[in-house]
Amino acid sequence: MSKISGSEAVIKCLLEEGVDIIYGYPGGAIMPVYDELYKYQDKIQHVLTRHEQGATHSAQGFARISGRVGVAIATSGPGATNLVTGLADAQIDSTPMVCITGQVGSHLLGSDAFQETDIIGISTPITKWNYQITRASEIPEIFAKAFYIAKSGRPGPVLIDITKDAQFEEFNFSYKRINGIRSYKPTPIINMDKIRQAADLINMAKKPLIVWGQGVILGNAEKEFRDLIEKSGIPAAWTILGASAIPTDHSLNVGMLGMHGNYAPNVLTNECDVLIAIGMRFDDRVTGDVNRYAKQAKIIHFEIDPAEVNKNIEVDIPVLGDAKETLSKIIPLIDKKSHKNWLNEFKKLYQIEYDKVIHGELNPSKKGLTMGEVIKEINFQTKGNAAIVSDVGQHQMVACRYANFNKSKSNITSGGLGTMGFALPAAIGAKMASPEREVVAVIGDGGYQMTIQELGTVFQTKAAVKIVVLNNDFLGMVRQWQQLFFDKRYASTEMVNPDFVKIAEGYYLKAKRVTERKDLANAVEEMIKSNEPYFLEVVVEKEGNVFPMIPTGSSVSEIRLS
């Protein structure tokens, strides 16, 4: 057997795991791996992002649309610390990602060497697992573990730090994928008693409500989920990361939960008799005041991660396990039903929300453009087949509320961490993972400028992402809070913005600005029809607000319509 270097072994490990695209940025301590990437460029495409944070979000976008593990690579020191935001985002949103960092030579570890940083220490609380490799012979086993851990059970990010000497060192390479680690139990064993108890409770319920999250998507349980709601006839509402698991227009889809979610599912959370949570973790943005959350209801929690059960909300029946398996097991025990009267209550409340909020947002008569009408136009032009990648803020809530999704894994957004700057690089990763799909990034003027440099990546890769910036010259969500809760003291939320069209044109991208309603439809149509990347700025009303809204500390049923 001939010996190979640690850095070549890194590439061979990635190939063994089926990796064909990685996102990254070179630098001193990772140069040996980049040298191998050069040699293997026909097998692995390396995408040079303009900042390491962009590499992580691209890897996340790649993972979120495809379900595959995203890979990002960076050098030591500042290269590694620039991965931190993406790692934290992937950890809280359960995104499978492997990050590789170079590290100073092992003889220099701990000596404050040039570009040395303790990235293992730094990334520990924001990774599912991490490991520092100091000998080349460790590489195959650690990479096999990393990919297994990243994608199994509740997925998450893994970081592998490799000292420069380990990259140079030669050894006999052989690779074996792994399917188990003795101290790690990715999927809890299913307890049939709990399944039966849950089924009994569901069958007896008069006013049941299903609340689902990303666990349905991560567990590839979309079909089982749909079977369950259709058989049981139970209305179902989603967290923003759960969006798109079933089509938006499904008759039992009663909308979005939480702070800016729909009126009916929030109000009726406090009226249902059985609340069935599936693959969601009762985030505070979903529950509002936990002491006044569904107190009248019996709660069933389908969950893969035992640490999530009873963490925020005490539940009556935990059903641990992978959603695909637990749902398959419970479906035969569920009575076929329709909850017509109960469903009508959702329809009534929807009508109230429609009259007071939705109609005006989607069909405005006022002068300024609304964010909602832009999303409506995108829905129309893409027929609901696009993946929508949103950033963080008002536009995100509007995009999630009003986007139509026909297909799962189509709503890509930073949920738990709320990372401004996520969307542009994530859209690049999503488009490269699924070139056949329309990928539309919807971004605010604030978040856009946090990773605007990734326009360089768009230009260099020609990834045909469609970039829509909804520009209100404000950090709109913070401004909305200032208006509602801080007597309109707009502290540092007004933005003096550059000419975004010129900037896009500086990167040789097709670009257009819309300021009037009459031009919107044509502009969106031109953008969607374009085979190339396209930038569209839509100037929207400056002080639009997102409603409904559950103010902090309020109960879900205290949701405000204005």
Binding site: T124, S183, Y184, D305, P306
Partner: protein, 180 residues
């Protein structure tokens, strides 16, 4: 939910792994919980470590904390127990001026009655060691502090549980499932 705090002994069986301690301590740090004492040792199973962590917190918190510890990849299994559910010991060393031993005979009685062991005696100082439950160590400290203590150090708690923990079974099950 009760807000009453209690002493909990957390026992964590782990793989021998660099960095895991950092991961576990972060779980306590995030919740602003102090670690009262921490002990790492080998176990009856080869290459498996046992951590014994003493925590003062509420039952609601300790359940969530142990859940999050169990989630870590290299943790084989973590448990929490109250004092009543464990047999535990702590150990301490006192360094005292030798002259006191002869000047005041009472000190010899204290040592004898407390079942402490004299580890060493030399012309300047002597060292006694005492193992026992927390309150026994506290009592001895109180008595001896009247005479003047040159140095005092106390070990972390170590504990075994009254109920069986079945760690070997967990590990055998894994092997069995893998071979199937």
């Amino acid at each position: 939910m009760s807000k009453k705090t209690n002493k909990y002994t957390v026992s964590v069986y782990t793989e021998d792994s660099v960095g895991l301690l950092n991961r576990i301590s972060a779980i306590f740090q995030r919740r602003h919980i102090n670690i009262e004492s921490f002990n790492s040792s080998m176990t009856e199973i080869e290459s498996v470590q046992r951590w014994t962590i003493l925590i003062l917190t509420t039952e609601v918190q300790i359940k969530k904390i142990v859940g999050q510890i169990n989630r870590q990849i290299e943790v084989i299994k973590a448990y929490y127990h109250t004092d009543e559910e464990t047999i535990y010991q702590e150990s301490c060393l006192f360094k005292i001026k030798s002259s006191l031993l002869f000047d005041d005979r009472q000190i010899q009685n204290i040592i004898k009655e407390s079942n402490a062991v004299i580890v060493t005696v030399n012309p300047e100082f002597f060292v006694i060691e005492k193992s026992g439950r927390t309150h026994e160590l506290d009592e001895l400290y109180e008595k001896l502090s009247n005479y003047g203590i040159l140095q005092y150090v106390r070990s972390a708690r170590i504990a075994v549980t009254k109920a069986p923990l079945m760690i070997s079974e967990i590990l055998t099950d894994f092997k069995k499932n893998k071979n199937e």
